[in-house]
């Protein structure tokens, strides 16, 4: 397979809107294209994708490839792997960028194996050096940062963590050309079937997309106390997470967990409430831009990584903070 210089972004979408991380990767692709010289290509697979295309349009791609077929919605590994692999074979991009989401991590390794493409996952930065893709990624539960080079010929696939690249503004002067790739799919080739997608009832936004995360630990003492974090999160427009003990105690569901055995997040602000700061938790959140910790134990290890540490009773502080944030947001007072 010969290799071109184009950089592709696999656009994941839901409810007719592209995922935030997919748009962020257009920024990543743009910075790589300065070194490679190729086009930034948005690859949009799915069914009835006009609104997705319209949303991707002004985000700075040079070309939009579409692969449209009724069998491409909802997402299945077999369906999407087939169209992505075919398109990559046909067009030979240098790099395919995929967001590190449940879908991206399901798809990318399968396509890489099919194509014999070099694959590097959970990337935090990507660069182009001496004609090779160079990626950094957390390893050993964030106790180390690995720099990985993709070697050999042919396309490579990079799965990139959310919130690593800026969301491009929707005002790019580029008018991407939309090229519709023909899709041939046999229903029999799709072996799995999606029965339903249940949205987990959460008043707040998904953790890995959140700009601000309010997180509770053992210091929350009881499941009902997470309500004060929900209130604060609502006021801040934040997501609510937790360390492992509340999950293990059954106070909050598994998908709240941030840490080595849960999610890895890197929001702008991480507000840790009653979390001591065990290494297992730090592994999931130490990539946050700013960390604020509230804990009554002045010796909590969390204070050693926090930009702002507050020693005090979170049950008094959080409700008052919520009120203060509401006032600021509504423009009342300071």
């Amino acid at each position: 397979m010969t290799m071109g210089a184009d950089i592709w972004v696999y656009i994941e979408h839901a409810q007719a809107a592209p995922k935030k991380v997919s748009l962020e990767l257009l920024s990543c692709a743009r910075s790589l294209s300065t070194a490679l010289g190729g086009n930034v290509v948005a690859f949009v697979p799915g069914s009835k994708i006009d609104r997705v295309i319209a949303a991707v349009g002004p985000r700075g791609a040079d070309i939009i490839y579409t692969a449209e077929h009724p069998l491409l919605h909802p997402y299945t590994t077999d369906g999407h792997a087939a169209v992505l692999a075919d398109a990559v074979r046909a067009e030979s991009p240098a790099i395919v960028l995929v967001g590190s989401t449940a879908q991206g991590r399901d798809l990318a390794p399968r396509v890489a194996a099919r194509l014999g493409a070099g694959i590097v996952t959970d990337c935090t930065t990507l660069g182009w050096r001496d004609g090779k893709l160079l990626a950094t990624r957390p390893m050993y539960t964030r106790k180390a940062i690995g720099t990985v080079r993709v070697t050999g010929g042919g396309p490579c696939i990079a799965v990139v963590l959310p919130a690593m690249y800026p969301l491009p503004d929707a005002d790019s002067p580029r008018q991407p050309e939309v090229r519709r790739r023909p899709v041939q799919l046999d229903g029999k080739a799709i072996r799995t079937s999606v029965r339903e997608v249940k949205s987990v009832h959460r008043e707040t936004i998904p953790l890995i997309e959140a700009n601000v995360i309010v997180s509770g630990g053992r210091g929350m003492k009881a499941p009902e106390n997470f309500a004060i974090l929900d209130d604060l999160a609502r006021a801040l427009g934040a997501a609510v997470g937790s360390s492992r003990p509340p999950v293990d105690s059954g106070w909050v569901p598994h998908d709240y967990e941030i840490g080595q055995t849960g999610k890895t997040v890197s929001p702008q602000v991480y507000l840790a409430c009653g979390i001591s700061g065990a290494p297992q938790h730090l592994a999931g959140m130490s990539g946050s831009k700013y960390i604020v910790a509230i804990n009554r134990d002045p010796n909590a290890p969390m204070f050693q990584v926090a930009d702002l540490g507050v020693v005090g009773d979170l049950f008094e502080i959080i409700p008052k903070l919520t009120e203060a944030v509401k006032k600021v947001k509504s423009g009342i007072g300071d």
């Binding site: 003990p245 293990d248 134990d297 010796n299 290890p301 050693q304």
Partner: protein
């Protein structure tokens, strides 16, 4: 000379360390502050094979050796000395004497239940007037047809409230001292046995300590453990194993104190640096670590000898004596390192300190251990009996 544990020892140790860290440690403080019997933990421990560790597999036990046994007891005690007390009593004071001295029928009837967690055992030796001087016990057993009738009061019985199977010692013959004593397997459902006063204790609070009243308790003759008149021998041999379990408990407590104090010394900042950078603290930690290691080596030596089938009374006493005094000393130093924080219940070191004290008392006080050791040193009988 080889100080390496085998692969199986290390795997057993690692498994139980993880079990204790995940299942026991998070509940240890609550079990101390509002003492309740940790039934769920005991069931999980049984599923792991921890309730009858040295019992052969054909009787439902895990069939592991004595070194594995003490390694496991150390891990359990490091998480909660109270929980470990419950488990070590079931193992060394109840399963072991039945496995060693019981008839095939007794083993088949009692060991699988004790190993699976369906039953819990307790050990009824001490009486109000006879503690260290246990061989003078006065509970009586008289034969009545196909039964023995036991009468007397036993105190300080660990697991006394929850246990349903008791090893009880009583005087069944006219001979004075150890030679008149017989051992019995007494079920709580037998007529005439009841739980009396339940003690409120300084430490190991989640294990019950109770008085067991034998009021003409009727025990089938087939529940005599060993030969008539061998109760003293059974009691003393059982105590050797029991002392190993207590040595391991003390090592576990000492290690917990050392670990907590080390972590605290590294994180606590005073005068602009961590307190672990001060020699005053370093010396305490160094002494704590040295004594804990020494205690563990004595414990392992005694366990090794037991495994070899050699007499290990002297070594078990040394291990128990040194480990329990090390636990007391180390937990005392740990509180000192923690300062004011160590004195309150937000940190576990005050609990370690309270738990440690019992190790100097039960299954032979430090004074009794010194008597046993001195007897071996002098090569003669200095306390009279046996």
């Amino acid at each position: 000379m080889d100080f390496q544990l085998t692969d199986e020892h290390r795997m057993i140790q690692a498994t139980v360390r993880e079990f204790a860290t995940r299942e026991i440690l998070p509940r240890a403080a609550a079990l101390d502050h509002s003492p309740t019997f940790p039934a769920e933990i005991i069931q999980k421990a049984a599923a792991l094979g921890l309730m009858g560790m040295m019992v052969p597999e054909r009787f439902g036990g895990a069939g592991v050796d004595a070194v594995s046994y003490v390694l496991v007891q150390e891990e359990l005690a490091r998480a909660s000395a109270g929980v470990q007390t419950i488990i070590t009593v079931n193992n060394s004071l109840v399963c072991d004497p039945i496995a060693h001295f019981g008839t095939e029928e007794q083993k088949r009837r009692y060991l699988p239940r004790l190993c699976s967690g369906a039953s819990l055992g307790c050990y009824c030796l001490t009486e109000p007037a006879y503690g260290s001087d246990a061989m003078s016990l006065q509970t009586s057993a008289r034969r009545d047809g196909g039964e023995w009738v036991l009468r007397g009061t036993k105190i300080f019985v660990t697991n006394g409230v929850e246990a349903d199977i008791c090893i009880a010692y009583a005087r069944a013959g006219p001979e004075p001292g150890a030679r008149g004593i017989s051992a019995f397997i007494v079920e709580k459902r037998f007529p005439g046995i009841s739980v009396g006063k339940v003690e409120k204790k300084l430490g190991i609070k989640c294990s019950s300590t109770a008085e067991i009243v034998l009021d003409d308790c009727r025990v089938p003759a087939s529940n005599l453990l060993g030969e008539p008149g061998t109760g003293g021998k059974i009691a003393l041999s059982t105590l050797d194993g029991g002392r190993l379990g207590i040595a391991a408990q003390a090592v576990g407590i000492a290690r917990a104190a050392l670990e907590e104090a080390t972590a605290y010394a590294a994180s606590r900042q005073q005068f602009g640096r961590s307190i672990g950078e001060f020699q005053a603290i370093q010396w305490m930690l160094a002494d704590m670590a040295t004594r804990t290691d020494a205690a563990r080596l004595l414990m392992l030596r005694a366990a090794y000898l037991r495994q070899q089938g050699t007499r290990y009374t002297r070594e078990a006493s040394m291990a128990k004596l040194f480990a329990s005094e090390t636990a007391m000393w180390t937990t005392h130093k740990a509180i000192q390192i923690f300062g004011g924080y160590g004195y309150n219940q937000d940190y576990p070191v005050e609990r370690y300190f309270r738990d440690a004290k019992i190790t100097e008392i039960y299954e032979g006080t430090s004074e009794v251990q010194r008597l046993v050791i001195a007897r071996h040193v002098l090569g003669k009988n200095v306390i009279g009996d046996s």
